[in-house]
């Protein structure tokens, strides 16, 4: 078999596989929200800057959570590209990598700014928001308020 004929057959096989859905490549881009400028985050000074400074410098957070008597402000974003090649036999089931975005903001990487009860920056942490954010603490009883039974 000559080289051109072999290449033609290989192309024909690839074409048939592609048309039947058994071979497929994907290249995907996923973006969620805008990243913070590192200088804006690094410039925050725990014990010095207030909630007003954080909001002015970083804008509105994705999440605000109660943390004891303090507050946690979470900023997250995603900007990634991924590729996937999927081969599938007609009789088998295979899964592929797929980018989806729904109500998944807590899985985003980002920054959490912890604010103390006097509304000053206590500390700043980076990582996956789900790991950094406090677990839900509500419902709680406020002092002087009766919840009844």
């Amino acid at each position: 078999m000559s080289a051109p004929r072999g290449a033609a057959r290989l192309a024909a096989v690839a074409l048939v596989c592609g048309l039947s859905g058994c071979l497929q490549g994907d290249y995907n881009l996923g973006r969620v929200h805008q990243p913070l400028a590192p200088a804006d985050v690094d410039g925050l000074r725990p014990g010095v800057d207030s909630l007003s400074v954080v909001l002015a410098r970083l804008g509105a957070p994705l999440f605000v959570r109660e943390l004891g008597e303090g507050i946690a402000l979470a900023y997250g974003w995603l900007d990634e590209e991924n590729w996937n090649v999927e081969a599938q036999l007609p009789l088998g089931d295979t899964g592929g990598v797929q980018f989806t975005y729904g109500n998944t903001d807590q899985q985003l990487p980002g920054v959490v700014v912890f604010i103390d009860p006097s509304l000053m920056v206590r500390r700043i942490e980076r990582g996956v928001l789900r790991d950094l954010l406090p677990t839900k603490a509500r419902p709680m009883t406020l002092e002087g308020e009766a919840t009844g039974g």
Binding site: L19, Y27, N28, Q34
Partner: protein, 132 residues
């Protein structure tokens, strides 16, 4: 002749799509900037922005979230290869109140207009903190 026929058929074997989805209704940046800490009240906020999408209790304080989100998706499918892009951006405002429902702080980000129909390799580079 065969090459011409193949070239004519090839575009018929591909597909593409553009999709745009919005969550909530847009709000006016001018209304947000008119909110004054230590002067505006919860009544002023609801009159200007309507009902919030989230209310968070923070001890005796509280915070309200307003958000308008845009997602744009684009896709291109060839014979053996597909490429897709999804870009989600939002206009977002958090208004903080004291226990007397007076506005104490306002944080706003306007990025919804930054959402674009992006495909890998064809999209522009991201700039940090674009819509702050």
């Amino acid at each position: 002749m065969r090459s011409l026929l193949a070239a004519a058929l090839l575009p018929l074997l591909t597909g593409c799509f553009l999709d745009r989805a919005a969550l909530n209704t847009p709000f006016d940046p001018a209304a947000v900037s008119s909110l004054q800490p230590n002067a505006s009240t919860a009544d002023d906020v609801t009159r200007l922005l309507g009902a919030p999408v989230e209310v968070v209790q923070l001890g005796r304080r509280s915070a309200w979230r307003y958000e308008y989100e845009i997602t744009k998706r684009a896709g291109l499918f060839l014979l053996l290869f597909g490429t897709r892009g999804s870009d989600t951006q939002s206009d977002r405002v958090w208004v903080f109140f004291d226990e007397a429902d007076n506005v104490t702080h306002v944080g706003a980000t306007f990025d919804a207009s930054e959402a674009e129909y992006a495909l890998p390799g064809f999209s522009s580079a991201r700039s940090a903190g674009a819509g702050k």
